[in-house]
Symmetry: C2
Subunit: 213 residues, 2 copies
Amino acid sequence: MPDNKISMAVIKRLPKYHRYLKDLLDKDVHRISSKELSRIIGFTASQIRQDLNNFGGFGQQGYGYNVEDLYHEIGKILGLTKPYNTVIVGAGNLGQALANYTSFGDYGFKLQGIFDINPRLVGMRISNTDVYDMEDLGAFIKEKNVELAFICTNKEGAQDVADRLVEADIRGIWNFAPVDLNLPEEIVVENVHLIDDLLTLSYFLKEKPETEA
Amino acid sequence: MPDNKISMAVIKRLPKYHRYLKDLLDKDVHRISSKELSRIIGFTASQIRQDLNNFGGFGQQGYGYNVEDLYHEIGKILGLTKPYNTVIVGAGNLGQALANYTSFGDYGFKLQGIFDINPRLVGMRISNTDVYDMEDLGAFIKEKNVELAFICTNKEGAQDVADRLVEADIRGIWNFAPVDLNLPEEIVVENVHLIDDLLTLSYFLKEKPETEA
């Protein structure tokens, strides 16, 4: 556990730094100033210096940042130093879309199984992963040491799935069902409420005057 | 345009209020105190009073909030007083998942068409909506008065799609491709960067001590 608390706002920006640093490495860029990083990432240079100072300050006056060091350091802060076993619950379109995001695997998130209640889907393979019966979820989580589950069921089924996951000692839940789950405090949860994002878009569409042709 | 600027944090909470108020209406609850609303929604009662005061304060001492009034008032603030024509670009699993979210239609987001470059998908119907050739995107946007597009392509194709949309005078983009788009300032954009959410989860999993059995 860190001694100093990092603010939620900083934590939320870290994945973006991580993504852009990865792109730079892919382009063989090994050194970058806060000014140049600011230009490509869209945060101000002073914001960047302040953010990265939270972790000991990797930049050197007149040199800038070593991209590789910074990338690995942020990866460590984000907990990417060990793989996580994951499962997807709900093999509909969204579950299948997530199963096909091969980049999750690149980050160390290893998809071990997909679960559904629909007997027509059980036994199928999606993105090289077997679809299992929901009844076997709890035993599978324990046996395969799964730490993280993606819930891709409908609203009605989500809480029951969450209860089973908690019962099986899951550590984290990524919830895509359009409902807020009742979970014990020790479970880490991220909700992707798509309708909330869409309504935020709608708010800003309303606020912006329509351009006249 | 509103006279007083509402903070981003408040705007981001409005859809959640809207969702919960809808649930209350569905359960025939027509009146609620900030304390009770606090219990179900998870914000503090003082946070709720403060948030809702931004819009003129709908609560009455000793009565609480009229659920229906509050629901409609927040809907108005969120721009839900008129329908929006939308298109989905990219008919893969994610595009199909979004096409099947019928609840978007309930909020007034009318899906007019789905676009893809894959000739095997063009001509199909997904969730009662036709899949069209990407070449026809610009003309379609203009003809059908489409204001909002959901980009569900891969990383490589997203910027080209965005350029076509801008060229056709789109007003808003909901971007699910794992890349930040270059867009003119007048375009409203919301990015759903799934990997960023997943890395935030990973951060918190690292921070929380594993429970011992």
